[in-house]
């Protein structure tokens, strides 16, 4: 136990890393996730055309099925959507937006929720009532309403023309803020139960600050529901973003995210153009799947009692 270990040394010596290298599922999931992220980042290199460059689109290329079907077209490996966008390119470019929004929004939700939940649960009494009623108010204003509110403010103070430049930030903000109560209430409940336990009292006796007790001691013992909610929320956030775009609040329609790509295909689902929804849908499922698997794995690893040795 040399204290002068390099960062890498500490990482490679840590439990998480140790179990990671030995867990096939975790390893494969992480590889796939990495692959997806890389593909999204390097999308311009991997695709034949940029679906966000509108000039390259032609409606007459619309709704071409994937190459392996009869009417397929070699130019479009996975077919095209109604606007003639190559699905493959659209997925990769869309994944950029969706991943960023999904992950950032969930991080924001989680951050807000965890802080508020910890404070509410730990402080109790008035603070608790106040924060929890705030959560009730927030819940009443679902992301839909919140988006409208934020947009109205944005228009009033910044001007609507700039919207598309800030769309991403606004979306992250809206989705991030709309759902914090989920976390807050869960954490609060957990804190209520944990704070009666003796190890918390022991920490109090040590003279630790409240903040430290909340984050260092209680929070790690409340991780498991957070993990479950988070993995669900990422999928949710990606879909919500698409739903908000209907209200004119999403990303610009000319730059479809993964969610809006899926959503735009709903109309076509029954009429046979399945690929517009199903292929990006599968992509989303794989994405969420690996995130979930990693989440499950991480949760187990972070629980010392579950070490398999």
């Amino acid at each position: 136990m040399n204290s002068e270990q390099s960062l890498w040394g500490r990482i490679s010596n840590s439990n998480v890393f140790y179990h990671f290298v030995r867990d096939k599922v975790a390893f494969i999931s992480a590889s796939i996730l990495l692959l997806i992220i890389l593909a999204a980042i390097f999308a311009p290199l991997l695709t034949s055309h940029n679906p966000n460059d509108l000039a390259t689109l032609d409606v007459m290329d619309g709704e071409i099925p994937p190459v392996w079907t009869e009417e397929g077209d070699e130019r479009f490996l996975l077919g095209t959507d109604d606007q003639g966008r190559d699905i493959l390119s659209a997925i990769l470019y869309g994944a950029r937006v969706s991943l960023l929004i999904g992950i950032c929004a969930v991080v924001l939700q989680c951050l807000l929720g965890v802080i508020i939940g910890l404070v509410a649960g730990y402080a109790g009494g008035r603070v608790d009532s106040l924060l929890m009623r705030l959560a009730d108010i927030q819940l009443s204003f679902s992301s839909l309403m919140l988006a409208i509110i934020v947009l109205a403010f944005f228009r009033a103070f910044v001007g609507g023309d700039l919207y598309s430049q800030f769309a991403m930030v606004i979306l992250i903000f809206v989705i991030g803020v709309a759902e914090w109560p989920q976390y807050a209430r869960t954490i609060r409940a957990c804190v209520l139960a944990e704070k009666e336990k003796e190890y918390v009292q022991a920490a109090q006796v040590m003279g630790f600050t409240t903040v430290r007790i909340m984050f260092r001691h209680i929070l790690p013992n409340c991780l498991s529901p957070i993990f479950v909610i988070s993995t669900v929320q990422i999928a949710n956030a990606i879909i919500s973003e698409a739903a908000l775009s209907f209200l004119g609040l999403g990303m610009p329609v000319t730059q479809p995210s993964l969610g809006s790509l899926i959503k735009s295909g709903f109309d076509y689902l029954q009429s046979g153009q399945w690929w517009i929804t199903i292929i990006p849908g599968l992509f989303l499922i794989v994405l969420v799947l690996v995130i979930n698997l990693l989440g499950d794995w991480l949760r187990d690893v972070l629980n010392p009692k579950l070490y398999k040795g």
Binding site: M1, S3, E4, N15, Y18, E196, K197, E198, Y199, Q201, A202, A203, Q204, V205, M206, G207, F208, T209, T210, R212, R216, H217, P220, N221, L302, N303, P304, K305, L306, Y307, K308, G309
Partner: protein
């Protein structure tokens, strides 16, 4: 035919750092009606054997070899359904840690009843009767009210008794009792042991009794097995082992038993250390980190003056809530308690289980606010302070909890648990220094630095208790509240730890509030003692005076019940007189 037969049992805990062998090649047997005492070093593998017998080793643990036979049937590697029938009905098990083994969400009644109903063929009604009966037998006062309560409303000793009641309630043929009386005062301990004894004799029940208390061994066991570092080093009849120990470890163990008759300066030390894996070292406090004072210490109090003053502290717990105040029921856990503790002394608190000792300790430590009354620390009224004002003082009042396991964050490594207060209160200069200090503390409590990377659940009961002590010392407190600090330690380790505390006290003027059921230990450690019952202080005196001429009837009774160890051999043993 032996009731239980254990042959060549070997138990391992594999981990990424290698396989730890907890029990190696252990064989013994228990006959019907017989009580086998299992003694040994803390961490020797006693609890592990018990767990292995009923196939409940905690996860990475596995039985690597050997067999277990119950009434001639091989019960190791039985199918899950069959072993489940054996548990409870055939083998009653009392876990070492009473705090965590009761489900916090169910009342004591539910937990008792379900055991009875699951294992015995009785009606709901008679199960209820039996449950009440059991509680009464283990000495819980007012069982009709208590049975409806939840575990957290019980004191440490009461929880332990509930655990015993549950284990005995299904009339098992074999009882495995893992340190069943550590949190009990002598009179109740006596009652429980008699209960077990009479069960064994009357119904030919076999019993494995794991204990550190040589008095208990001497008084009720028929045979004794001694364990050391995973091996069974010696076994024989009680008399044989106690009077003519053969193995050097046994010898040194017996020599370290604290004496109830005379007060010694230091505890006699065991110098048998076979593999010397973990070295106890006597510390040189003047050069040691523990001896340094930090700027924020309260140094205004001179040795011999009052460091802690407790004045008329009252605290009630609600036992039955109701809308109207008059319908509420309370337990007066602390009834007008007053005492003072001088700087540099050790103040003892003894008394019946459930008498409010832990409660008052918690009030002083600032966990419960007192309902009325005042507490002064170094002449500052800490009971009236806000949390913020109080924080700097908190470091100086530390507490060793009665239940070490539940008082440690299960998600933190032991080294982090101990290092955290050092970091937090900035008691060390660098990261490296902290790591050194932590390793040092672990050494001093006999665990060794390597223990640092493990998590609390990977330790034995006694080892956890030592971690808890190390953590309390890490803040370099002025006042140390010890709530049963050594109940799970074998006498040799106990001696080490208590000597460490004594050293600290001598050199630094460490002040201690010492709660214990172990009267010999109290006699050795404390300068003054208070006796508590029903939340009140009955009597308070200089230790020697109290032991020699107790005033209150309750005290007299208590002292009379100290297990006699006259037949304990002390000759030829290496006793260090300090």
């Amino acid at each position: 035919m032996a009731l239980l037969e254990v042959n060549n049992l070997k138990i391992e805990f594999p981990s990424r750092h290698g396989v730890a062998v907890a029990v190696e090649d252990v064989s013994f047997e228990v006959n019907p009606g017989e009580i086998l005492g299992l003694v040994g070093e803390s961490g020797a593998g006693k609890s592990t054997i018990g767990n292995a017998i009923i196939d409940l080793l905690s996860p990475p643990g596995r039985v690597a070899g050997g067999d277990v036979f119950l009434k001639g049937e091989k019960i190791s590697s039985l199918p899950a359904s069959r072993i489940r029938q054996i548990r409870g009905a055939e083998i009653g098990f009392i876990f070492q840690d009473p705090m965590t083994s009761l489900n916090p969400l169910f009342t004591v009644e539910e937990q008792l009843m379900e055991t009875i109903l699951a294992n015995l063929d009785v009606t709901q009604e008679s199960a209820k009767q039996k449950a009440l009966n059991m509680l009464e037998q283990v000495g819980i006062p007012e069982p009709e009210i208590r049975i409806k309560q939840y575990p957290h409303q019980f004191s440490g000793g009461m929880r332990q008794r509930v655990g015993i009641a549950i284990a005995l309630s299904a009339d098992p043929a074999l009882i495995i009792a893992d340190e069943p009386t550590t949190a009990l005062d002598v009179s109740i301990q006596d009652q429980i042991l008699q209960l077990i004894r009479s069960l064994c004799k009357k119904r030919q029940v076999g019993c494995i009794l794991v204990t550190h208390d040589m008095g208990v061994i001497a008084n009720i066991t028929d045979r004794v097995a001694v364990m050391y570092q995973g091996n069974l080093v010696e076994s024989g009849t009680t008399e044989q082992i106690l009077q003519r120990p053969e193995h050097p470890y046994t010898k040194s163990l017996i020599s370290a038993v604290p004496r109830a008759d005379v007060k010694l300066k230091r505890f006699p030390l065991v110098n048998y250390i076979e593999k010397a894996s973990v070295g106890f070292s006597q510390i040189d406090v003047s050069n040691h980190w523990l001896g340094q004072t930090s700027a924020s210490d309260v140094s205004s109090v001179a040795k011999g003056e009052d460091l802690l003053r407790v004045e008329h502290v009252n605290l009630r717990f609600i036992t039955k809530n109701a809308l109207l105040a008059k319908n509420r029921r309370y337990i007066q856990a602390s009834d007008d308690v007053s005492f003072t503790v001088k700087k540099g002394e050790t103040f003892g608190l003894v008394g019946e289980s459930g008498s409010g000792k832990s409660t008052i300790a918690r009030v002083i430590a600032g966990i419960y606010p007192p309902e009325s009354g005042r507490i002064f620390f170094a002449d500052q009224e800490i009971s009236a302070m806000s949390e913020r004002e109080r924080r700097p003082i908190r470091r100086q009042i530390q507490m060793v909890f009665q239940n070490p396991y539940s008082s440690m964050n299960p998600r933190m490594r032991v080294q982090d648990i101990i290092a955290e207060p050092i970091y937090f209160h900035k008691l060390a200069g660098s990261r490296k220094e902290v790591e050194m200090i932590v390793g040092d503390l672990l050494d001093h409590v006999g665990l060794g630095r390597r223990a640092g990377i493990k998590f609390p659940h990977e330790f034995s009961g006694g080892q956890r208790q030592r971690i808890s002590i190390a953590r309390a010392l890490a803040t370099r407190p002025q006042l140390l509240i010890c709530d049963e600090p050594t109940s799970a330690l074998d006498v040799s380790v106990q001696a080490q730890i208590l000597n460490l505390l004594k050293d600290l006290q001598d050199e630094l003027g460490l002040t201690m509030l010492f709660i214990s059921h172990d009267l010999p230990v109290i006699r050795q450690m404390c300068d003054r003692v208070s006796v508590m019952r029903y939340g009140k202080i009955l009597e308070q005196n200089e230790t020697e005076a109290l032991f020699i001429s107790p005033q209150h009837d309750y005290t007299k009774n208590l002292l009379a019940l100290i297990p006699h160890m006259d037949h304990l051999s002390r000759e030829g043993l290496m006793v260090q007189q300090g």
